[in-house]
Subunit: 330 residues, 2 copies
């Protein structure tokens, strides 16, 4: 069954892809079987991340970019991640009437996801969905997410090229928030560039890039584009900037290196998540978590001792145990 | 040494507290010893979370609230978390000339933190710092953070009462982002309420609360306050709302229940973090991660198989192994 779905996805069936993504969302065991089968066929698509503060016009820009990419004959997958909604379960963005002119094109696949689950789940989810779209034969996959916290930085960490969208007139507080996001930008876009303050913001960002020795040393200076996404202005130029970055990645050898880093990060993240899931389940089902929490409440135990005792008990590798024991001696 | 510091913190030494927090930041082993000693003396302070989008005036409101709380003779700790800066390391907020009128009051302790580290680190850090401020004898601890992603939701998850700050005129995109945050609000504050649109926003939020059966069922209906924090308007009323929620928590028995949930969550989070740290270190130092990544790059291995093999190898409890094996059979 998983095998059939994998085959259908590799043949380009959007329906099969949608099914697999649902399995991933439900943590259905069939998802793993299917992902294992498609994995050897992934890694081909180029992944673009679009991030920026709420209200920056990321969705409109993403749609316009998808249209632009389609012009050059490439197939496009869009993954819109809304990490602001940890409780609603469903994908908020799905409610929007979005991309109605794109929806009829079978070579565009659009998927929305909202935040669910515990610690760091979105980056893994995004990375899994990217693999599905990749196996489905999309040439370019665009991940759109709100860029504020560590979660979102992890999500765009899946991308080969990260575009940071800024808008004029969102005030100082918002601009200062961008401090952390400057470092992850490969391409800047000042969207809504017909608004007052666009030139000044553009100059500010350029000055910041100029100043920042760390950014210069990377061998790639992030271009600062302007766009009015709602009118399609500047979208072609944005695509050229992304293409230029892609070329830089390949020419410099950074592409291989960067993919390697991403794969290592992802492998660790998956081990992390699964290890914890298993330990948690066992602690909960055996009633040991409840017993420990009772002691913590009564201050008969402290969480630091609990943590270390649990680890000593759970880890099997003697080498690791030794290391851990050494660490705790300090 | 750790013992001396713990004793000094329990006697109310701000300097000793600052030292311990630095140790926590540096993951210095002495921090654990010290935290273990102070843990039995924690759990007494009431923790208030202030969250909202950038530009909502959270810092000003937090300062004004701290001043208000001091009026009633209570000691205040402030923890300002800036999760937007994963790369700068230092605390951005520390750069601001903030709370100059509060800084001379020895019964107010202010600490800023920026995001560092990997997966879910901030919530643990916030929770640790809250314990330090608690042991230091603060009666009320205010955690201020930008509320957008899962990270920030986890950070305010440490609080007993969560205040969500909204402002008029930030546009639809921002307001729709609040969908996820509606559920975690115990108290709403419309700040900058002298701006146009404040009454409408107030009515919208109230209508939303009214409509939402889930929110009504909790037995507490979040009040919607208005404030102009920069002029100190509405701050007293905000404090009364927080006090009312505190009273509700105690009267309904929710306080104990909620603290229990938080402690369980925190224990799991700590085990999670430490487990991963140990496994990661061992995988990296043994060169096995590199070897696995090589195979992943060449598609000779898939990350799902890697994950499960690693787990089977690492987990020592036979009960757990059995469970995990069953799971993977599906």
């Amino acid at each position: 069954m998983a095998h059939d779905f994998a085959a259908q996805i590799l043949e380009g069936s959007n329906r099969a892809a949608a099914r697999l993504i649902s399995w991933l969302e439900d943590e259905d065991e069939r998802a793993y079987e299917c992902m294992k089968e498609i994995y050897p066929h992934t890694g081909r698509a180029f992944v673009v991340g679009i991030t920026g503060s709420p209200g920056a016009g990321k969705s409109t820009l993403t749609n316009a970019l998808a249209r632009e990419i389609r012009q050059s004959g490439l197939k496009v997958g869009i993954l819109a991640v809304d990490p602001s909604s940890p409780f609603t379960g469903g994908a908020l963005l799905g409610d929007r009437v979005r991309m109605s002119d794109l929806a009829d094109d079978p070579d565009i696949y659009i998927r929305s996801m909202a935040t669910r689950g515990f610690l760091g789940g979105m980056a893994k989810a995004a990375s899994d969905v990217v693999k599905v779209l990749d196996a489905l034969g999309k040439d370019v996959i665009v991940i759109e997410t709100v860029g504020v916290g560590q979660d979102e930085v992890d999500i765009v960490g899946v991308a080969d090229t990260t575009c940071v969208v800024l808008v004029p007139g969102l005030g100082d507080a918002i601009q200062s928030m961008k401090a952390g996001i400057m470092e992850i930008a490969d391409v800047f876009v000042i969207n809504k560039a017909d608004r007052p303050g666009a030139d000044m913001l553009c100059a500010e960002v350029s000055a910041r890039i100029e100043m920042d020795a760390h950014l210069r040393e990377r061998g790639w200076v992030a271009p600062v584009n302007k766009s009015v996404a709602v009118e399609g202005v500047g979208v072609h130029e944005l695509w050229l900037s992304i293409e230029a970055h892609r070329k830089y990645l390949f020419d410099s050898g950074r592409f291989y290196e960067s993919r390697r880093e991403k794969i290592a990060k992802e492998a660790l993240r998956m081990i992390h998540g699964e290890l914890f899931r298993v330990v948690r389940e066992q602690l909960e089902q055996s009633g040991r978590l409840d017993a420990a929490v009772e002691k913590l409440m009564n201050k008969k135990l402290d969480p630091y001792t609990l943590m270390r005792d649990t680890l000593t008990e759970w880890l099997s590798s003697s080498q690791c145990k030794r290391r851990h024991d050494e660490d705790t001696k300090g």
